[in-house]
Subunit: 482 residues, 2 copies
């Protein structure tokens, strides 16, 4: 551990700072709240709620307005999860004598606008949007960092991974007066209708599994759907599945297999690819190093029928029970206990975050499934009483980032990350930097340094650090106008 | 008339285009509507309403995606009023082979989200905000100008004067992917708490009157408040005032003078300075050329008592009855019949557009009045049931425009315009251009050319044209990314 970090940890512990509740680092911070309007964009009511944020000022002590603020734009989960899994920021703080600030996204963690009724109806849930979240962050920064008299505010650098990366980039675009630059890691800002083909995600995912151990891995997965479906059609078959997979709730009808279990498997394959780090980790779930390789190691030869299911079950435990604590397989959520708020995300995916997905079973290992916006919209309407606005994000934030006025964003993408297909991988704008990490999974560059990091990850972090330095220098040259 | 404009007017008339209902030019356009969400930033309901816009495609015919769109960001009034009073855009259209597009601001003109109940309660009126209006414009542009296949959308240049100028600048800041540049004329984007001193507006205003004809003008006005107040304290005094001023509704108590009439006078002095153009015009009201000079011509010597009131009454008719059509003096609104929606603006001034104003009677010609946010807030709460968010605009849009990522905005200000004090008059950012018009009143540069225009106005328009040309060139160089 960097001596400065070590010292800060000691100081923090002495001053009664909290330690995070989630896996990852062992970082400490104060937990605070700020009152923010439920609706920043209308005056139909004066209602406010308490938005939670985490702050650590120990690295910035005594440095005043020259010290930057490293700001994490919280995404769909408990903010402590992201604070603990964004070690890169903790490594940067002593270098830049920076304050660390992590803001929780509304409707996640403890930041619930209507308490335990926040998810009750569209009337309550409807304020769960990216624009409202960004407005929360803007108000927080303006409040903590307003400058005074002749002093400008301290420079702020935004960070985020995945949806948090989208928010970090969008924050810089929408509030450039509050944020000097943004590191947007694995941010699929182009994963929207008419911009990115719907099959890309599953194609990248399949290629990750295909090359992880032996090619039989994807052949087995591709084959498994038919085998499972076959078992699903009889009571005997269902009984066998229940025995083999130890589900927490027994499957009792065909759609329990072809809907619920298929969805779970699809999620797990995606999640494993996202957290396919070269070391043991605990982000979406506790997993070993190189979890996709481990998974495919258990599907290394061609299997059929019951034998295929046995191997699939064994492979699945890499994700579902690596720490040996699970008593049964809960297929209702692949995020159980992770701190990720998949209920909230489900609503966002039905409103603004319409990311078309499809598969054809040829270029990917999944059952063929076309993208059908109308069907998707109907399903959302049935669930939430509101219909998607599929172009909302593109209208609000744009999708090309060409404009000379969009500057100081780094888009980094691991090419082994299925989300990279919807990321920004090319730029004709000199102030939008692209960092590609050939061996990287989902926002690995935001995680703490690890001896097993491939060199491309280490290099990405060095590039980020250089960009941040440039943005801060640029910011300092700007003079306040009277 | 430019032959191209003349030809277009003929073509337009042949194709059944409408001619505006308000004074100003005699320009023609199609009147259309687009369905937009009542609330762009929440999913509490799917309600939409019809937003009105005016479009003229006659200059762009056959030029396709190379032809720009000149877009007026509608402000607090009927959009036809602004279309008719923004002749500069009509003069540019043939030069750039551009489409003209004027969007109406929600809650003004015919764009009423809840029909004739739109102003009924905060529940209905609460969606009247600048952010919602900008989101309307974004959706309109995205719909009319989405590009297709390999083509980028057509370049869009935003225009606006006064609050419309604020919207044009903010539109470029918030939606740079939709707008290549903005001409923000007389936009008081810095007229907010803690940024611009509250007394500036009235100081500039006073100096305009002081130098318009003889210095006695401001001495008389400064003296008039006490005279009026004196008359207000007795029934006899009130009777004299009612006889002299021919109010539409007789004044019956002291506060009718010191509140209603004082407010009206204050508004009229401001309005006259705003529309102090060097030619006869009809924007807020029909007035002669150089209306402040005409006004002060009638207060050219030192008067006292009843004589002062007679001269003041005569001077007021410059604003209230220049066309001789008024039967009495309506002091309930200084915008009566102008197309300006002062009810809506009153709400906006109570929510987001908190522009502190004060006077001391020494550096200005008004009765001393401090700025008191609490009092202001209480008054707003009493009226509308909601409290101001005085820092909202600064949090959302910034107030300094230093950041390298804020580009391609021209802030133009007439120095004879009292609003110029809250404008952007200096810039350390090379891509934010400042145009000062020493002899200019409120957004005179957006009006049609006139033989009486001072040279500085003509030069400002030439500078704007050059900026627009550069922004379009820059836009064309950007290549679409796949």
């Amino acid at each position: 551990m960097d001596p400065a970090v070590w010292l800060a940890v000691i100081i923090a512990q002495l001053s009664g700072y909290f330690t995070g509740a989630y896996g990852g680092g062992n970082y400490t911070y104060e937990i605070k709240t700020i009152d923010v309007p439920v609706d920043h964009f209308s005056f139909t009511s004066d209602a406010t709620f308490k938005l939670r944020y985490l702050i650590n000022d120990t690295f910035a002590q005594g440095t005043g307005p020259d010290s930057p603020i490293l700001f994490y734009a919280g995404n769909e989960g408990d903010i402590e999860l992201f604070a603990q899994n964004t070690g890169f920021m903790w490594e940067l703080a002593p270098k830049f004598r920076a304050t660390l600030l992590f803001a929780e996204h509304r409707y996640y963690g403890h930041s619930l606008p209507f308490g335990n009724q926040s998810y009750e109806s569209p009337k309550n849930l409807g304020y769960l949007t990216s624009e409202q979240a960004l407005a929360d962050y803007a108000l927080l920064l303006r409040t903590l960092n307003s400058g005074n008299g002749t002093s400008r505010a301290r420079p702020v650098i935004a960070f985020g991974g995945s949806y948090g990366g989208m928010l970090a980039a969008w924050f810089r675009i929408k509030y450039p007066h509050l944020v000097a630059g943004a590191i947007a890691a694995s941010a699929p800002v182009r994963q929207f209708q008419d911009v990115t083909p719907c099959g890309i995600f599953n194609q990248i995912l399949t290629s990750v599994y295909h090359t992880a151990y032996t090619p039989e891995c994807t052949a087995n997965i591709r084959h498994s759907w038919a085998v499972l479906q076959n078992y699903s059609t009889s009571a005997d078959g269902l009984r066998v599945l229940n025995e083999k997979f130890h589900f927490c709730t027994n499957l009792t009808k065909a759609t329990d297999v072809t809907d619920t279990f298929f969805d779970y498997l699809t999620d797990v394959y995606g999640n494993l690819a996202m957290i396919n780090y070269p070391y043991e980790s605990d982000f979406l779930a506790p997993v070993p190093a190189h979890p996709v390789r481990e998974f495919c190691g258990r599907l290394a030869q061609n299997y059929t029928g019951a034998e295929l299911l046995d191997h699939l079950e064994s492979a699945l435990t890499i994700y579902s029970n690596f720490d040996g604590k699970a008593k049964c397989l809960n297929i209702n959520s692949s995020y159980d206990g992770s701190g990720i708020g998949d209920l909230g995300w489900d609503f966002q995916a039905c409103t603004e975050m319409i990311m078309p997905m499809c598969s054809d079973g040829v270029h990917d290992m999944f059952p063929p499934k076309a993208w059908n916006l109308q069907e998707y919209s109907d399903k959302c309407f049935k669930k939430y009483g509101v219909r998607p606005r599929p172009h909302n994000a593109l209208v609000n934030y744009g999708g090309e980032f060409l404009e000379s006025s969009i500057t100081n964003i780094v888009f980094s993408n691991g090419l082994l990350d299925p989300w990279s297909g919807g990321g920004v991988l090319r730029s004709t704008n000199a102030k939008i930097k692209i960092v590609l990490i050939p061996e990287g999974a989902h926002h690995i560059d935001l995680r703490a340094s690890n001896p097993n990091d491939p060199e491309t990850v280490t290099r990405a972090r060095a590039t980020h650090t250089q960009s941040i330095r440039e943005w801060i220098d640029e910011y300092r040259k700007q003079k306040k106008v009277y």
